[in-house]
């Protein structure tokens, strides 16, 4: 039962984005009795559309933003003009109903308590925007639990001594361990570390009407063909529509938030699938378009009242972009692991999660066992760690079934210079300004992942690897973790949204997605983004009921 709303009839909420946060907000607000239209740039796909096609999903647009139609400029320094990406976008996200939850890896560890108040614990870091969140872990805990039960997460509560307190165990047991998980566990235990089963938003058994994982191996970068991986396409979105109050408008690309003379949002202007411009009237706007597209939309919506873009009195819209570094280590063993089978990750180590000032740099992280990943990407990346062509390289390729990867996921410090802006010249296929991305890792971020990579090497050596190699840690030029660009905070001069995701400048404009994060965590941000979305929805519904929007 899907509802269709008239453009001229103001709905309660226009939600821009149908992904991790947008899907949750749509369901929660529709179930709370509000009328909702969700706008999604990309098409609506079904499970039958998803294929094991690495070329399509990794080297052509597939389901992601497209370097041809949605070009981006990248530079590592603000004085440079930058370069246009031709293979993969710098800021990559899935452009389809369900957003990035359709193609993510579904690693679902919670942020720890320190992720929210580390600035108070450690003090300031010169030259950075390192700050506390306006909320603490305890306030978010009920919403983490809500995600785990209503989206569906497999895991083992209490398995990691470093996990923050939780009010409820996971609804499903962990997925079967892989050979890489056994080896990570073996090596880590020998070193006195505390490996634990990876929490994943993938069904280990049938849950909420979706089947258990069939171990096909195509999670990272692919849509799950049976729906065992929990995307909002298969969870929140249909549930929102089932209320009869939510319309999902696919292939509807929002390019402007319309503001009236009082400085309030009254509608969203968008291109429909035929590139015709439409305006949907609305009483409030929630932008959940991800950490790249949310700031871009605010900047594109600049008008005479808000010449620097909407919600940008602080000047921080698009600033403090954070990625999370993932450093790779590969280990070759005597026997076959066949990492191409099943989920991407089955064991995690959080012993180095916290910052330790004795190391001489800020940061910490998680280390996990990983799939290779798929053949082309693996074959490309393995060349970073030894011969990259010729006979020796070919011999290395044949070691694929006996190779595992260990990924070291680290922190990114918030730097004002790392940003998403509008490019002054480059335009997308709709004639709208393209994104210009500026990013350069803080030296501590690189030192941190080098440290983690050394630990990963020790773990693999302890596990009995025949050979361990690591990709050199180089500055990042791209990411799928798009964080921090409209950060939340109590001070309107130092943040874009308040603790309830309401923009400081426009009372009926809310922003909720990866852009809200104040710190990067140690990777795996989607669970936290969804917990924030559940929490935001509860507050926004209350504001609406009390006529406070």
């Amino acid at each position: 039962m899907t509802r269709t709303y008239r453009l001229s009839h103001p709905v309660d909420f226009a939600i821009v984005g149908s992904g991790a946060a947008g899907g949750v907000l749509a369901r929660e607000l529709a179930q709370a009795g509000f009328s909702v239209v969700v706008f999604e740039q990309g098409p609506r796909l079904t499970l039958a559309d998803f294929e094991h096609d690495e070329l399509k999903y990794w080297f052509t647009a597939g389901i992601t933003n497209d370097v041809v139609k949605n070009p981006q400029m990248f530079r590592d320094d603000r004085v440079k003009r930058g370069e246009r990406n031709l293979v993969r976008p710098s800021l990559c996200y899935a452009r389809t109903v369900g957003g990035t939850t359709v193609h993510y890896t579904a690693n679902y560890w919670r942020f720890h308590e320190i992720d929210f108040d580390e600035r108070s614990r450690l003090g300031s870091i010169a030259g950075t925007g390192f700050a506390d969140w306006p909320l603490r872990y305890a306030e978010l805990e009920p919403y983490y639990t809500k995600v785990e039960w209503e989206i569906g997460v497999s895991g083992l509560a209490g398995a990691s001594p470093f996990d923050p307190p939780r009010s409820r165990p996971y609804p499903m047991p962990p997925l079967p361990v892989k050979s890489s998980g056994v080896l990570l566990e073996r090596g880590a235990r020998k070193l006195g570390l505390h490996p634990f089963p990876a929490p994943l938003a993938i069904n280990s058994q049938p849950w909420l009407g979706r089947p258990a994982c069939i171990h096909c191996g195509f999670c990272q970068g692919f849509g799950c063909e049976v729906g065992a991986k929990a995307s909002t396409l298969t969870t929140m979105i249909p549930q929102a529509e089932a209320t009869g109050r939510c319309e999902v408008r696919a292939e509807s690309y929002v390019v402007q938030i319309v503001i009236d003379k009082r400085g309030r949002a009254t509608g969203v202007r968008y291109f429909d699938r035929d590139k015709r411009e439409r305006v949907q009237k609305t009483k409030a706007v929630i932008v959940a378009a991800n950490g790249a597209e949310t700031p871009r939309l605010l900047l594109m919506s600049a008008n005479s009242m808000f010449p620097q873009g909407l919600a940008n009195s602080s000047g921080l819209v698009g600033r403090y972009l954070m990625f999370n570094y993932t450093a790779r280590t590969h280990a070759v063993f005597e026997h076959e692991l066949n990492e191409f089978k099943s989920v991407q990750c089955s064991r995690v180590v959080h012993d180095f999660y916290d910052t330790d000032p004795k190391r001489g740099f800020y940061g910490g992280g998680g280390i996990d066992s990983r799939i290779g990943p798929q053949p082309i990407i693996w074959a490309d990346r393995i060349g970073d760690e030894g011969p990259s062509w010729g006979r020796a390289y070919k011999a290395r390729l044949a070691e694929f079934p006996r190779t595992m990867q260990v990924a070291s996921h680290g922190t990114s410090l918030a730097l004002e210079t790392n940003s998403v802006e509008l490019d002054p010249e480059l335009q997308d296929a709709w004639g709208m300004p393209a994104m210009r991305v500026t990013y350069k890792d803080h030296p501590d971020d690189l030192a941190n992942v080098r440290f983690l990579q050394a630990r990963a090497t020790e773990i693999m050596e302890a596990a009995g690897a025949l050979r361990v190699t690591s990709a050199p840690v180089k500055p990042q030029t791209s990411s799928v973790h798009l964080l921090g660009t409209c950060r939340m905070g109590d001070d309107p001069a130092a943040s874009v949204v308040d603790r309830y995701h309401r923009s400081h400048d426009i009372p009926n404009l809310f922003l909720c997605d990866g852009s809200s994060l104040v710190t990067s965590g140690r990777g795996q941000p989607t669970l936290t983004i969804q917990a924030l979305a559940f929490r935001a929805a509860a507050h926004i519904a209350n504001f609406a009921r009390r006529n406070e929007i």
């Binding site: 361990v177 056994v182 171990h215 026997h335 191409f340 089978k341 390289y393 044949a398």
Partner: protein, 214 residues
Amino acid sequence: MSFSRQRGSAGAVHEDGYSRRAFLRAAACGALGGTWLTLDLAKVARAAHDAQLAHESPGAPTTFLSRIELADVDAIAAQIIPTDATPGAREAGVALFIDRALATFFARMASDFRSQLAAFHVHCQTRYPDAPSFAALGNERQMEFLTQIERTPFFERVRLLTLIGMLAMSKYGGNRDNVGWKLLGFQDQHVFQPPFGYYDRDYPGFAIEVNERS
């Protein structure tokens, strides 16, 4: 003159990629050299293979590279993943895959590719004036030359395209008979069951008490 500086001198490059001079010289050699019967067996094999490649080219309007360009790309790809006891890039059909890709789904990189390939050709001829093309060089000189340019954007681009042509689904024209997947030991199946590999076969289960104790 460095390779990267040559890349910048796009003024010498015609629309079709090669400089006119290089094109005429190649044409005068009959593309693969009229004297190929007098060359050593490896060269004969390669030339025959190149001819077969050109012959096999479906003749569809999607073909992007000229025969000379195709032969060079094929020779580079065959150095990246050589044929030894097991099939390499040649058997996977990588060169034709690249040709087709540049005409279709990788058209966005086609013009860059063509000018880089032309610069590669000129650079190769400058260094080895006796050879009409990279493909006509012997194995050792091919490896020597590629080692010199392995950090250039052009080589990195050909390398990536070679890997894609080797390992993408065979419906795209490469990875013939799944030779790339066989090389890796990759299996594309919809359903797998544990145990997945050797090390998870006899896993006793996760001992949560070990973490709790320590």
